[in-house]
């Protein structure tokens, strides 16, 4: 593996440019990071920012789990508990998951396209700082949320913030205002970065890289970006309306003046459901890059993977009201959203089958990154199936807002998305830092996280089946939920330890990790042709590609990658036997 960096005709590879910013005083280095428009630095900042909030949101989760360890527990008050789950949800979605996937995209999309930066580097910097400012605004509510009427501190209306609980009559002080403002601000950042991904993928591809020679990761970021633009915009609009309600006497959601509680739910879930796919597309993207490399095989059915992603994107825009089966829609409306929701399972199934087929007949190398990918496959399968279960409206009426739902979406977001992201961290860390993450710590990280995850979230389905609703700060002792909640809490603590190991591994390996070289995994896409870390502007000479796996072609001149003509050409050929 080591030293498999190969000389690349056409001048790909390390440029020998030294990292000028590494020199200078502490203040100058800081300044260079603050003013940077370099996609790599912004990508790193996105990820570090997200990891910081992952720790914060994780602590909030642990507070929730300690409180639920015993029935009628008094570890925190009802008010504090409500703030904790509101902040946990908002933080994890908007300030952990979104920046994580934006960070990965920022770093990788230009590199994989053979581009020197994103299409709009300054918009990129602007987007990052807007997102970052949104997180600060949200957490400033702990200080500034009290307001004149003393009913404040952090938001306590749930991350879905159903109206009219957010109306001034029911939510005094400024905590809800900070919540709405932080999402408006970070929403602008999200839309900015989404426009940037689309422009980059369409306009910045290197010579020879037709759309159908583009690696799957940028493809999925295009789909994700389309969803961000279509989904975050209604959320931002809803936040503006809410702010108008609260400050300018509007009555969009103010039911006491004839507003509609229902319309907020529609706005929120028109954002909220595609948001799941905004987060899961990048997870799919990571799968699409990591599984082939460690299985030593090309991705199976590239055109089908692209088509399935685009299909998921479209269908996911028409399923939002499956979050609202209990809100009182007509039977026809309910049936429609049952069907649309079940349909998402088809392209998602295609993806899972294609990943299995990619592994099939390969020689799988179980690095930590690949372990996380296999974990993703199994867990995402279960998450998808519990999603199908939840789409069955009569059953959903029972499961909705119960701990079964909590378990389901944590299965998607932790068992699916976070596992993929962690796999991605182990896979691309050498590229970003030039050093390998410690594999022994990585295995500890993986296995502890798997054990903690399953102890926590497998068991969490059961109290839901036994009638435990979400968002309750305490529960009755006679319901039979106590032991289950205690097991769940233990699992949460184990996951906390696993994430602490990851953080330690990152810091330790940054300083003392083995030197990686340009291509430690013997991989095939363009980011591995340049040095680790890549120099400013990535490539000294613009690369030229003739297939989806340019490095494969260079390493195996006698067995070139599947030829892709201009436009789509799909032979579905099998190898000569």
């Amino acid at each position: 593996m080591a030293g498999s960096s190969i000389p690349v005709p056409g001048g790909l590879g390390a440029t020998g440019v030294t990292d000028a910013e590494a020199e200078g005083t502490w203040l100058e280095v800081l300044h260079s990071w603050v003013v940077t428009a370099d996609h790599k630095k912004l990508g790193i900042m996105y990820v570090l920012y997200a990891l910081f909030f992952l720790a914060v949101g994780g602590i909030e989760a642990l507070i929730i789990r300690i409180q639920l360890f015993f029935p009628d527990n008094h570890f925190v008050s009802a008010e504090t508990f409500n703030r904790m789950f509101t902040m946990h949800g908002t933080t994890m979605i908007f300030f952990v998951a979104m920046p994580l996937v934006f960070g990965f995209g920022n770093y990788l999309v230009p590199l994989m396209l053979g581009a020197r930066d994103m299409a709009f580097p300054r918009l990129n910097a602007f987007s990052f700082w807007m997102s970052a400012f949104g997180g600060l605004l949200l957490y400033y509510s702990f200080i500034g949320g009290v307001g004149l009427q003393g009913a404040g501190s952090a938001p306590d209306v749930g991350w879905w913030a159903y109206s009219p609980l957010t109306a001034r009559a029911f939510s005094r002080g400024h905590s809800t205002d900070y919540w709405a403002l932080s999402l408006i601000v970070s929403g602008f950042g999200s839309i900015g970065v989404a426009i940037n991904f689309i422009a980059t993928a369409f306009c910045m591809r290197c010579k020879g890289m037709t759309l159908f020679r583009m690696p799957l990761l940028p493809w999925l970021y295009v789909v994700m970006s389309g969803l961000v633009i279509l989904a975050v915009s209604p959320l931002t609009a809803a936040q503006v309306m809410l702010t108008i309600d609260r400050y300018l006497g509007g009555h969009f959601f103010d039911t006491q003046a004839g507003g509609s509680a229902l319309i907020w739910a529609h706005f929120f879930w028109i954002f909220g459901h595609p948001e799941v796919y905004v987060l899961v597309m990048p997870a799919f993207a990571i799968m699409n890059e990591v599984i082939p490399v460690f299985s030593r095989k090309a991705i199976f059915g590239y055109p089908a993977m692209v088509a399935a992603s685009v299909a998921i994107g479209f269908v996911s825009l028409g399923v939002w009201a499956h979050h609202m089966f209990t809100i009182g829609m007509t039977s026809i409306g309910n049936a429609f959203f049952v069907l649309s929701t079940m349909l998402v399972g088809i392209p998602t199934g295609i993806k899972i089958f294609n990943w299995i087929a990619t592994m099939w007949g390969g020689k799988i190398r179980y690095t930590t990154a690949m372990l996380f990918c296999v974990g993703f496959l199994l867990q995402f399968l279960i998450a998808g199936l519990t999603g199908i279960i939840l789409s069955v409206e009569p059953f959903n009426l029972q499961l909705h807002n119960s701990y079964f739902v909590i378990a389901h979406f944590h299965y998607v977001i932790v068992g699916g998305i976070l596992f993929a992201i962690f796999g991605g961290i182990y896979y691309w860390f050498p590229k970003v830092t030039g050093r390998m993450l410690d594999e022994r710590l990585g295995k500890w990280n993986f296995w502890l996280f798997v054990i903690g995850f399953h102890v926590c979230f497998d068991v969490m389905h059961v109290p839901g089946v036994l009638g435990m609703p979400r968002s309750i700060y305490t529960y009755e002792a006679d319901r039979g939920w106590t032991t289950l909640n205690q097991i769940v809490s233990v699992g949460a603590a184990i996951q906390g330890i696993a994430i602490a190991i990851l953080v330690y591994n990152i810091i330790h390996s940054c300083l003392k990790g083995a030197v990686a070289g340009p291509d430690p995994w013997d991989a095939w896409t363009l980011e591995w042709t340049t040095s680790s870390p890549p120099p400013p502007y990535n490539f000294a000479i613009e690369p030229v590609v003739r297939s989806r796996r340019p490095l494969w072609d260079l390493k195996h001149p006698n067995d070139p990658d599947e030829p892709v003509e201009e436009g789509m050409s799909y032979s579905g050929r099998m190898p000569p036997s």
Binding site: L165, Q398, T482
Partner: protein, 335 residues
């Protein structure tokens, strides 16, 4: 497999840990809950089958195709796809989806669009922060937190049809053994029906986060035999008891702020903001199920509601100990 795991887990929770849950969705006691349960078994079987099949494929591929220690370092054959195989794993899921959708749609229409029989009992449910108001329009009864409905078995079919709305924020009515949940929205009326087959107590709670004390917005549904229910209705239709022995407490109730929020039929107290107390003493719990209805709890509740349910909208009235004592004695007579 998934079904087995879930059911096994439910069984483990019940038996091995000697726990019992009167809120399990897998022990339905009325038609809507039974319909949901039956459909769930069907769906759990299908998804369980998918889980076993696909999960086995993943595990098999992950184990069988691992790189062996004696690997020669060569790359495996590169396969880029196969139209036939990909078509097959597109069409089979389509067929599964069609089957599941049709089964689901049939059940949706059967339950949601079921016509109301003439024998049905009408109840209006109004959600409040953080308690339940129940009105029986035909019987002219208003009560709170503990819903009484008649049993509806094969001998006497008398389902309960509910119209649900909210006085403030969104709540959700959920008694798992009777039916799935339905939300209570301000400015909107939702409907649901239940037909419990066996008398008894069924518990549940608010299932949509509605503010500080969402967790203590508990629900109790008493399913009575026809005779019990008729007796209960008769009792509830009486105005509040007027026992001269507790005249001091009644005087306090009617001269302090209590009557601004509470109604006691037959007295000047006609407040609408809090629960109707006309027959408070016949209820098993106070504060929407947060505490048993004992003299001691009632005194603590009247003295300082935050001691039992922090954040409930009932204020502490700073009454003297004697006043608390007298009012509690009065309320205890409201059978």
């Amino acid at each position: 497999m998934l079904q087995a795991v879930l059911l096994l887990a439910a069984c483990v929770a019940r038996h091995a840990f000697a726990l019992d849950s009167n809120t399990s969705i897998f022990s339905p006691a009325a038609t809507p809950a039974k319909a949901s349960y039956d459909l769930s078994l069907f769906v759990l079987t299908i998804t369980g089958g998918i889980f076993v099949t696909v999960g086995s494929l993943i595990v098999y591929a992950a184990v069988r195709f691992r790189r062996r220690p004696d690997d020669d370092g060569s790359e495996p054959p590169q396969i880029f796809g196969s139209n036939q195989i990909e078509l097959s794993w597109t069409i089979i899921p389509v067929l599964i989806v069609v089957v599941m959708f049709l089964a689901t749609a049939r059940m949706i229409f059967a339950i949601q669009d079921a016509p109301e029989p003439p024998s049905a009992l009408d109840v209006t449910v109004i959600g409040h922060q953080f308690w339940w108001e129940f009105r029986y329009p035909a019987q002219h009864i208003t009560t709170a937190n503990e819903l009484h409905i008649p049993v509806s078995d094969t001998s006497t079919s008398r389902p309960t049809f509910m119209k649900l709305t909210s006085a403030d924020v969104i709540h959700s009515f959920w008694v798992p053994r009777l039916s799935g949940k339905i939300d209570l929205l301000p400015n909107r009326i939702n409907e649901m029906w239940i037909d419990p087959h066996t008398p008894g107590l069924y518990v549940g709670q608010c299932a949509q986060f509605c503010g500080v004390q969402h967790a203590k917005m508990l629900l109790r549904v008493y399913v009575d035999t026809p005779a019990q229910f008729a007796a209960w209705v008769k009792q509830e239709q009486q105005p509040g008891a007027q026992d001269p022995a507790v005249a001091a407490g009644r005087h306090d109730f009617e001269t302090q702020a209590c009557m601004n929020c509470h109604t006691i039929a037959g007295t000047p107290a006609r407040g609408q903001f809090g629960p109707d107390l006309t027959h408070l003493a016949s209820r098993k719990t106070i504060a929407s199920g947060a505490a048993d209805n004992t003299t001691e709890n009632l005194e603590r509740w009247i003295d300082n509601p935050d001691l039992i349910k922090t954040g409930s909208l009932m204020p502490a009235m700073h009454l003297t100990t004697d006043q608390v004592h007298d009012i509690t004695a009065y309320l205890n007579t409201l059978q």
